[in-house]
């Protein structure tokens, strides 16, 4: 459903970094992206999100090209690593921004906000400010906003960094449930191979600006034949 074909771009002042990606993500699926830093994980998400302009290639969502659209018009929601929430706005307003960027909501839309908060187990947190929430709760608010946006593609850019193992597990399970139920296609960038076991059936390993391997998560993480994967995972 999300089809990335020959998507390439060149970064760096002297064109020293070349990236090229081919990837297909189905609805209801989270594909995890792992790989050493500089391998292109963020670049891939920035290209899909529209924060980088590709030199060649296409991005298709339900067979419609989106690579020329501005970020706000793409059928894409992103949960960033940090600064997802505006600290001066309430939880409800932060979610409501996903429906209307001017915060003009009708009654039904207010219900949508409440409903989304309930789905991330934050019922009744509407009037709190982000500063009064834990970091795990804050990320759940950003997930709620992604839900109300009702866009089919979800990009998760290291949304769990800074959280402990139990919280990571809880959030990943929640994400997996939501993606399956909402029938979204999601990409999850992570530095923790353990996350991918919880979140995704399939995992892609990036290195040198390319997708080096993509396979079932447990197969890829146990693939000790491949020297690059072995080196990344630190297995001998």
């Amino acid at each position: 459903m999300l089809d990335i074909n020959g998507l390439s771009c060149v970064l760096g002042n002297e064109g020293e970094l070349t990236f090229e990606f081919d990837l297909r993500v189905e609805r209801g699926e989270i594909v995890s992206i792992i790989g050493p830093s500089g391998s292109g994980k963020s670049t891939l998400l920035n290209l899909v999100g529209g924060f980088l302009v590709p030199d060649h290639g296409t991005i298709l969502v339900d067979n419609i090209q989106i690579q020329t659209l501005p970020p706000g018009d793409r059928p894409v929601s992103t949960v960033f690593q940090e600064h997802n929430l505006f600290p001066h706005l309430s939880v409800a307003d932060n979610v409501a921004l996903g429906i209307h960027p001017g915060l003009k909501l009708d009654k039904y839309q207010h219900e949508q906000v409440n409903d989304a908060l309930a789905r991330v187990h934050l019922h009744g947190f509407n009037e709190r400010k982000p500063g009064a929430l834990s970091s795990g709760q804050r990320q759940r608010v950003s997930i709620a906003r992604a839900l109300v946006r009702e866009r089919p593609v979800l990009l998760l850019d290291e949304p769990l960094s800074g959280l402990g193992p139990a919280l990571r597990h809880e959030l990943l399970t929640l994400l997996r449930e939501l993606v399956e139920r909402e029938f979204m296609a999601a990409l999850l960038v992570s530095h923790h191979p353990e996350d991918t076991r919880v979140a995704s059936t399939r995992t892609a390993f990036l290195t040198g600006g390319r997708i080096h391997a993509i396979a079932d998560t447990h197969v890829l993480l146990e693939d000790l034949e491949d020297p690059l994967i072995r080196e990344y995972l630190g297995r001998e």
Binding site: G50, S77, F80, H83, F86, P87, P101
Partner: protein
């Protein structure tokens, strides 16, 4: 190019034209140009020498003690009333320079607490006034780099058993070194172009700076070509310094001390009696200078003529004229600075960092054109079209707005870029833009620095004695000009009252603008 990116570029161009057109007008005005004669003139050589001498000495006498003050403040995070101390050190930045002259004379003059006699008029007095302004400024500019020392480094120093000197050498000095040249250059430039202080405390042929020489050549022997030559010389000097300072300072994200670090005891190896004494002396001396001068102004101002002076129509008229000028000039400078920075931030975020930097640089560079020259240029261009009396206020507003712009840009650039880095992508992905983005995101997140920038611009404009001294007719006056007139006429008691009024209203204006625009303290977050 996006439309709002265009607005900033257009505005920056307008600013440059507004600042440079007067130079062209002056150049073309009568006489021969350039007045190359003055370059061989021994008078000019003396003016130039004195300008550089007083600026160098002022810088040295401000920055070296400021290092000690900043270090003492950084080492003692638990100092009693630390906020108050920092606040007091911030006051000179918004005190009108003509008022400071009044206070310096009152403390160090013949009848003062520490009489220096006739020596006060000339280099000594100028240096004291400049140190009053710039020592606290330097201390506040240097403090953040010391406070940014990561707490891990401090703990490490503890573990390694550094003494006070080793701590300075291995940790504090490397942290400070980067901020030092930029700070010193800024202060050098401020002193080089200082006007009101040199006009009132120096001014004789022995102690005249370029800026005052420009004033004299326009006011007394109306000789625009000569003024232009002097202005060009100052412009050249400042441009050189500005380029140097761009090379020496980089955009650095200033973060406050993190919560954990603040609780960690920083008084490292410095709890000996001597260290306490040294730190106490550094902070105490700086405070005594600031508080002494301010107290003298208050004590002198509260004299028996107060009621009658405050009831004079000319005093009230001047007060309102000053307020009017300050509010409009500050609004223009803030709006213009905001729009330019919105564009430059957008360029920087879009990968064209150089374009953003250039835009900000251009808007800041206005600073090197002497305001007197800009003002005079406008008068020469416009006096045939408009009545001179009606021209004074608009020209003063325009010049003050131009002069306020660099301060607005300097204080807003770093916060705006940081906010853009944090929330820029989120806003684009949620399609929050234009007016909605301003109301919902940018204004709430940036209103504190915005309020501070506007308040600074307002206070600077309110206390400025410059263009208005050249052109105001006898019926027209701003508060600083009225004070200067009373001082020149040796009406000491009346001058003291006006000085106190000027000080009080300037501080009140600053606080009001900052609170109204910047919002209540401790709000939200």
């Amino acid at each position: 190019m996006s439309p709002s990116g265009g607005i900033g570029v257009v505005l920056a161009c307008v600013v440059v034209i507004l600042a440079l057109a007067p130079l062209v007008a002056l150049t073309g005005y009568g006489g021969t140009f350039p007045d190359t004669g003055i370059f061989a003139d021994p008078y000019l050589a003396r003016v130039l020498r004195f300008s550089l001498l007083q600026a160098s000495l002022s810088t040295l006498l401000s920055v070296l003690p400021a290092i000690l003050v900043a270090r003492a403040l950084a080492r003692r995070p638990n100092l009693p009333a630390r906020r108050l101390v920092l606040g007091l050190l911030g006051v000179p930045l918004v005190v009108p320079s003509i008022v400071v002259v009044l206070g310096v004379v009152s403390v160090f003059g013949a009848d003062g607490w520490l009489p220096l006699g006739r020596r006060l008029y000339g280099l000594t007095g100028i240096l004291i006034a400049h140190v009053f302004f710039n020592l606290p400024l330097a201390a506040r500019l240097l403090l953040p780099s010391l406070e940014q020392i990561p707490s891990a480094q401090r703990r490490l120093a503890h573990q390694l058993g550094f003494n006070s000197w080793q701590y300075w050498r291995h940790i504090e000095w490397p942290a400070l070194r980067g901020a030092l040249p930029g700070t010193a250059l800024l202060i050098f430039m401020l002193c080089l172009t200082s006007f009101a202080v040199v006009l009132t405390l120096g001014g004789g042929p022995r102690s005249t700076t370029l800026e005052v020489a420009i004033y004299q050549s326009l006011r007394f022997d109306f000789n625009p070509p000569r003024a232009v030559s002097l202005a060009l010389m100052q412009l050249g000097l400042c441009a050189m310094l500005a380029m140097l300072s761009v090379r020496l300072t980089r955009h650095r994200e200033v973060e406050g001390d993190s919560g954990g670090a603040r609780h960690f005891d920083r008084t490292l190896g410095s709890n000996t009696g001597w260290a306490r004494l040294a730190d106490g002396t550094a902070i105490g001396t700086a405070l005594a200078l600031v508080a002494g001068v301010l107290t003298a102004i208050v004590v002198d101002g509260a004299n028996t003529t107060m009621i009658s002076v405050l009831n004079r129509p000319e005093v009230l008229d001047s007060l309102f004229t000053s307020l009017f000028i300050a509010l409009i000039a500050a609004a223009m400078a803030t709006l213009c600075g905001w729009l330019i920075l919105t564009s430059s931030t957008r360029f920087a975020a879009g990968g064209r960092e150089w374009l953003g930097n250039t835009l900000e640089g251009i808007a800041t560079i206005v600073y090197v054109v002497p305001p007197l020259v800009i003002g005079t240029g406008y008068f020469l261009m416009l006096h045939r079209l408009v009545d001179l009396d009606r021209l004074t206020v608009p020209v003063v507003i325009a010049v003050n707005a131009l002069m306020g712009l660099p301060f607005v840009i300097r204080s807003l650039a770093a916060p705006m870029r940081q906010r853009a880095a944090e929330y820029g992508r989120l806003c684009t992905s949620l399609k929050i833009c234009g007016w909605q983005r301003f109301v919902l995101v940018d204004f709430p997140l940036l209103r504190r620095p915005l309020g501070l920038a506007a308040a600074l611009a307002a206070a600077l404009s309110f206390g400025d004695l410059g263009v208005v001294a050249l052109f105001a007719s006898n019926e027209q006056s701003t508060l600083p000009l009225l004070l200067y007139r009373y001082l020149s006429a040796y009406r000491v008691n009346e001058a003291a009252v006006v000085g106190l009024l000027l000080l009080g209203s300037c501080l009140m204006l600053f606080v009001l603008v900052e609170r109204v625009l910047g919002g209540p303290r401790h709000a939200g977050h």
